[in-house]
Each structure stands twice: as C-alpha cells, then as structure tokens.
Amino acid sequence: MGSGWETTTLAERAAEAMPGSLLAGAGYVLLAVVGASLFVAVLGMALIYAERKVAAHFQCRLGPMRVGPHGIFQTVADTIKLLFKEDIVPAQSDRVLHLAAPFFSMMATLLALVALPMSPIVQVADMNIGVLYITAVTGFGVLGVLLAGWSSNNKWSLLGAMRAGAQIISYEVSATMSLLVVVLFSGSMQLSRIVESQADGWWIWRAPVVGVVAFVIFLIASLAEISRTPFDLPEGESELTAGFHTEYSGLRFAMFFLAEFVNMFVVSAMATTLFLGGWMPFHIGGVESFNAVMDLLPPGAWFALKSAAVVFLIMWFRWTFPRLRVDQLMKLEWKVLLPIGFVNLFAAATAVVFGWYFFPF
C-alpha cells in the first residue's frame, strides 16, 4: 500500500549531483561534514539546556537563569569553557587508547544518525537493513566506553567500563527483541518503509497490547544501553566518582558528554520511528477529514514533536527514579524483560500471521 509520500535521501541527491565534477563532490563532502557537526553540536547543546531546565523544575528549582533570557546561552558558555580547558592525560595511562576512546563513542552516535528518517526528505541514507544497522552501530559505542575505562588505568574507570559492558550486552538482547516486533508487523527492516507502513496508525496502538509492551521494553532496554538514569551504574558518582570518564577532561570529556546526549536523541528517534509513526502525521485509517487536519503540520515537525516527547519522558524518568543495584539490573533484564520479550515476540508473530491487528492489509 502506497502512502502517497515521495521520499528521497540526502545520499541519493548527492549521488545525482556528484558526477558533474570533482569540485561538486568535494563541496558535498565538506557540506556534509559541516552540517553533521553543526547538527550534533546544536542538538547536544539544546538537549543539555533542556535537561537542566527540566531537571530544575522537577526539583522545585529554576535552573540556569543568568546567561541570556532564562539562561538559554548557558550551554553555549559551558561548551566554550570546556573547549578551552586543559586536556589531561594521566601519566600511567595507555596514551593512544586514552586519546582515541572518545572518538569511538562519538562515532557510534554519528553513525546511528545516518539512518534516521527525520522527514520524507531529510534522511542521509536509507538502507534496506536499517534496523539491524542501528542496533549494530549503537552497540559499537560500548567499545569506546571499554577503551576509556581500560586505558585510564584507574580502578573506578575500569569498574565503570566493565559495568557498562555487562549492561549494554545484556540489554541489547531485549531491545532487539522488541524491535523485531515492529519488523514483523511492517514486514521490512528499511526504516523509511517502516514509517510508511504506519500511514494508517502507529504500531504502538495498531498492534494491540504487543505494541505497547514492545514499546515499554524498548524504552527500558535502550535507557540501559545509553546508561541513562535509572541505569547509570557505569558512571554512578556515589560509587565510582564518574565511572569510565573519571580521567577525562576538556574536549574529550565533552565528546563523551555530547555522545551521551545525542544518544538520548537517537533512542527517542528510534522509538518514534518504530512505534510512534516516525514523521508520519497522526492518521486513523479511513477517517479522511481527521487525517486532513493532521496533515496541516509538516512531517518534519511531527518527527521533532514526537522525539521531543520521548526525550521529555526519558528526562522525566531520570529525575524521578532511583538508580538500580547491579544485581537488580541483571535480574530485571534476564528474569523480567527477556521472558516477557520472548512471549511478546511470539504473540506478535501470531498476530501477524492471523492478521489480528488494526487495518491489516
């Protein structure tokens, strides 16, 4: 079923323009680098500002209020400060790995951004194994964390990194399990196709019960994967000082920090794309007048709003829930999420086979 949306990707458009001349190709590459860094930097700063404001109001405070109206330039000032700070490398550390580790973390985040469909025309590359690609690439981030912990030659760093490794590997299973539910329903791993399959309704409610369960499991498991509170054991400050980035300062610390916040966006964007219809406006199959009203907002705005809602939810979790203990963390994954995920996947497969969901084609 066609959804009536023309979708292109930035990669396709670049490929069309490239054969003209070498200069045009170089220009595109330069534009891509600048665009990507600008996007990540602005996104990171906006998210950090939002986090500080939201956190403050959850705790009866005001948050940054001094730099600019309501402190909107606070993160800009903080970023500039971080860039100018001394980059300390401990004397006994493994120097090369210590210097390289933040880039691994950052790269995993950047690579994940490639496949996200942010609107019909804003998507860098649309690969046919998009879901698998994102799962694989976000798992790559743990390498940076492990390297950082190992190369710092510090017990807190190493303990934090080991915790991160155990946590990410465990929770990836559940996250993938819940992604598979949507892949089953939409019958594709291509992210643009998954979005288009939700033209009549989002999978979170079109797939009765299993959609909601999968969404909740995905949210919990991805929070653990990106080490957000309540799963921030790798950097639990009361136990491990700062965990794997204890020995980092200046620009390299900023890299880890930025990667953490952009990861939050990646998770919300994934949740949006798979369960909340991506850039697709809120449609109910067959109710044309309602759908026409919903179409007034452009798809890019729908995507931004949905992602922002999920980001807010993640922040809400962070400032409400207490941190789990290590044994509780493992118990939650292997004894609760994984069995429920398996049963849910089986139920979803049954629903797909018999067409027990809203608007089956």
Partner: protein, 215 residues
C-alpha cells in the same frame, strides 16, 4: 568463636508466584513517583529558588535565619540589656565584649557599649539563647560585605544607659534625658577602627539609624 551463633549464608526463599504482581506493584510505585515529580514540573509555584538581586525589594528572610546580631530597641529607642555579661560568657570564641559603666545618676551598673566582632562570630546563636531578658536577636540582614574587615567590629547599642524599664519609670522626659547618652556604631572604648576609615560608620550594609523620639 561460637560457630553456631554466626549467621549462615542462606539462599533467599524460592518464590513460585508473584511475578506479575511484582511487576504491577513496581510499575504502580514508579508511576506514583512520576506523578509527584510531574506535579512539581507543572506547577511553577512550587519553585523555591530566590532570584536574589532582582527580588531584593521584596525579599523577606525567614524567622530562623541567623545573620547580624542585633539588640532590638523599642519605639522609644531603648533596649532591655542590663549588661549582665551572660552572653559574653556564653560566646564560644569571645566575639562579644560587653562594656558596662556605673550610672552617674542611678549609681548602678548599666550598659555602655555592646561590642560584637562579626569577623569572628560563627552565628551559633548561643548568645541569643543565653540572654535571660531575650534582648538579643539574630536578624535576617545578610548584606554585610565591606571592603575592610575592621568595619566588622562594631557597637550594637545606640545609647549608654539603663534598660528601658528603668528609663520609662522616670516620668519627666528632661530628667530621663540625663540618664543616657548616645553611642554610635563605631565609637568604642578606644575608637573602633571603622571610625578612622573614610566614610566612618556609614559603609556598613544598613546602619541602624539613631531613631530618637526624645532629644
């Protein structure tokens, strides 16, 4: 060591039920917590932060806030201090020096100067608690920064003389005027260093104005 008294390490009891009950209970408690935090988020009136320099005009410090020690003077400009020195003895680090004199008319001990060293005071409130006449108070006036720390040693009483009770027994205002003489913030037994500095006593945050009903 008696082995039988040691706690054996036992496995937690095996539970065969309650899996979903635990999940539901856990989710309920998490949602309850989220409800509470969302109430804070959605009600800006719950914010307790004071935007200090901006709200300076309306800022009211709290009753239990302890900052500058003061010797409250009543509407006639008299205090209740008898110069009994209990506060001086209660002070753990000697920040209070009560200077008394023999009253020229009454012939009894009365307060001459009440010298308080803010620079060494820890605001422990011991003097206020010790005062048998409740004539001391730590008020909320926290804007006390000065450029010279010798300005932080000053005199709390505005006059040398007996207590308000003794003074108010004297009906005739002219008779009463003979019983006391004015004292200002920085003049001491030896002049306090603040008097030698430019601006005299006026540099301190809010010097208590000499409110005299009868002069």
């Amino acid at each position: 060591m008696d082995v039988s008294r040691m706690n054996p390490i036992v496995a937690p009891p095996l539970r065969r039920s309650g899996f979903f009950a635990d999940i539901v209970a856990g989710l309920r408690s998490l949602l309850q917590g989220m409800g509470i935090t969302f109430r804070y988020f959605s009600h800006p009136s719950t914010v307790v932060t004071q935007q200090y320099p901006e709200n300076r005009a309306t800022l009211k410090m709290f009753d239990r806030y302890r900052m500058r020690l003061s010797l409250p003077h009543d509407e006639n400009g008299f205090h209740k201090c008898t110069a009994c020195r209990i506060c001086e003895q209660a002070c753990p680090n000697g920040s209070i020096n009560v200077v008394s004199r023999k009253g020229a008319v009454t012939g009894k001990t009365e307060l001459d100067r009440y010298i308080w060293r803010m620079d060494s005071c820890t605001f422990c409130n011991a003097c206020v608690m010790a005062c048998p006449f409740s004539c001391l108070k730590m008020n909320g006036d926290f804007e006390c920064s000065v450029f010279d720390k010798s300005l932080l040693v000053f005199n709390l009483t505005r006059y040398a003389g007996p207590t308000s009770t003794v003074l108010m027994k004297v009906e005739n205002p002219e008779e009463r005027r003979k019983l006391w003489e004015p004292r200002d913030v920085y003049s001491g037994p030896l002049p306090l260093r603040g008097t030698e500095l430019p601006g005299g006593g006026k540099t301190l945050g809010k010097p208590e104005e000499p409110a005299r009903s009868e002069t």
